[in-house]
Amino acid sequence: MPETIEQHAAYDSKIEGNIIFTRADAAINWMRKNSLWPMPMGLACCAIELMGTAASRFDIARFGAEVMRFSPRQSDVMIVAGTVTYKMALAVKRVWDQMPEPKWCIAMGACASSGGMYRSYAVLQGIDNLIPVDVYISGCPPRPEAVIEGLMRLQEKITKEESAVAHFQTEKAV
């Protein structure tokens, strides 16, 4: 398990000036977690709260996630905000498949997590039926604070992620 950059950085301003020593893995994870570009998959009322999260009062930019990318090619985390109908699920899956690795998914609100109050023939009962979800946020819709909390949980998860180097080393060993 690689240490986080905070734990690992050996920094002495007198000796090293502006240089920080760390492991590449920890640095990569640190960079990733602080520049999570969301793919705003706004499908229902949760999308309004997502807009509120991005706007100035709650300001998701404080966490490096202000760059809402409407191109899946440029985004890191898909925030599924709203009711996923079976018809829309096809498009959500397609957008997810177009996102480059590494990628994460946040299921925002009751509908995206479990179908919510829509126990109906038309609604997918949770986006995790189709794509892997990293963080579930409860609420109907969740308040912006909850969305930010979810984002911070995802950042924590990314910090602890196995690094690319370790991944390729185990692949070589196999």
Binding site: Y86, A89, L90, R119, S120, Y121, A122, Q125
Partner: protein
């Protein structure tokens, strides 16, 4: 306005089964065979230039099963006239499309096809509109369960029964007391 119904009754006396006038709303129940012709006449001659809606009713267990309801409106000449035309349709028959008369009808008819499975002759675009292409059921039919049915199209889409957890929770149309009106779990088949 009674004269409108009189005009229709004179012109299509053999095809009009019933006319109802209730609080200024005029409803004409017509024969299925002549329905297309009557609707066209309403548009071309009577000036009903706006088709508000087309909807369908499922009289499950009663023959004929389907009923189509056309809501027409006349906007021309400062007059405001509403007219509702209904006709019954057996399950093995196709309805006649009026998308040539009112282009907007194509959307309504696609929705009726999608939800009820009633097909239309003369409808150019017979794709589904709310469910995805290839979905095998028609969900607004009376014999379709609210929770849905499982379906599977490999590599395209799937659907599953939604967990109702004792539901659906429905209110009762009673005025006895609020306790009796509250939504409760009821057995559905």
């Amino acid at each position: 306005m009674t004269s409108l119904l009189t005009i229709l009754a004179d012109r299509f006396s053999d095809a009009i089964l019933d006319t109802v006038e209730f609080r200024g709303e005029r409803t004409v129940i017509v024969e299925q065979a002549k329905a297309g012709e009557i609707l066209r006449y309403c548009h071309d001659e009577l000036g009903f230039d706006y088709l508000i809606d087309v909807s369908s009713v499922d009289h499950f267990g009663v023959e004929p099963r389907w009923e189509l309801v056309y809501e027409l409106y006349a906007l021309g000449n400062g007059a405001r006239h509403h007219l509702r035309i209904k006709y019954k349709l057996p399950e093995d028959r196709k309805a006649e499309s009026v998308s040539e008369v009112w282009p907007t009808a194509a959307w309504h008819e696609r929705e009726i096809y999608d939800m009820m499975g009633i097909e239309f002759t003369g409808l150019a675009d017979h794709r589904r509109i709310l469910m995805w292409e290839g979905y095998p059921y028609f969900p607004l039919r009376k014999d379709f369960p609210l929770a849905g049915r499982p379906s599977e199209m490999p590599d395209v889409a799937f659907s599953d029964r939604a967990p109702l957890a004792g539901g659906p929770f429905v209110t009762s149309p009673t005025t006895a007391s609020t306790v009796h009106r509250e939504p409760r779990s009821r057995e559905m088949d």
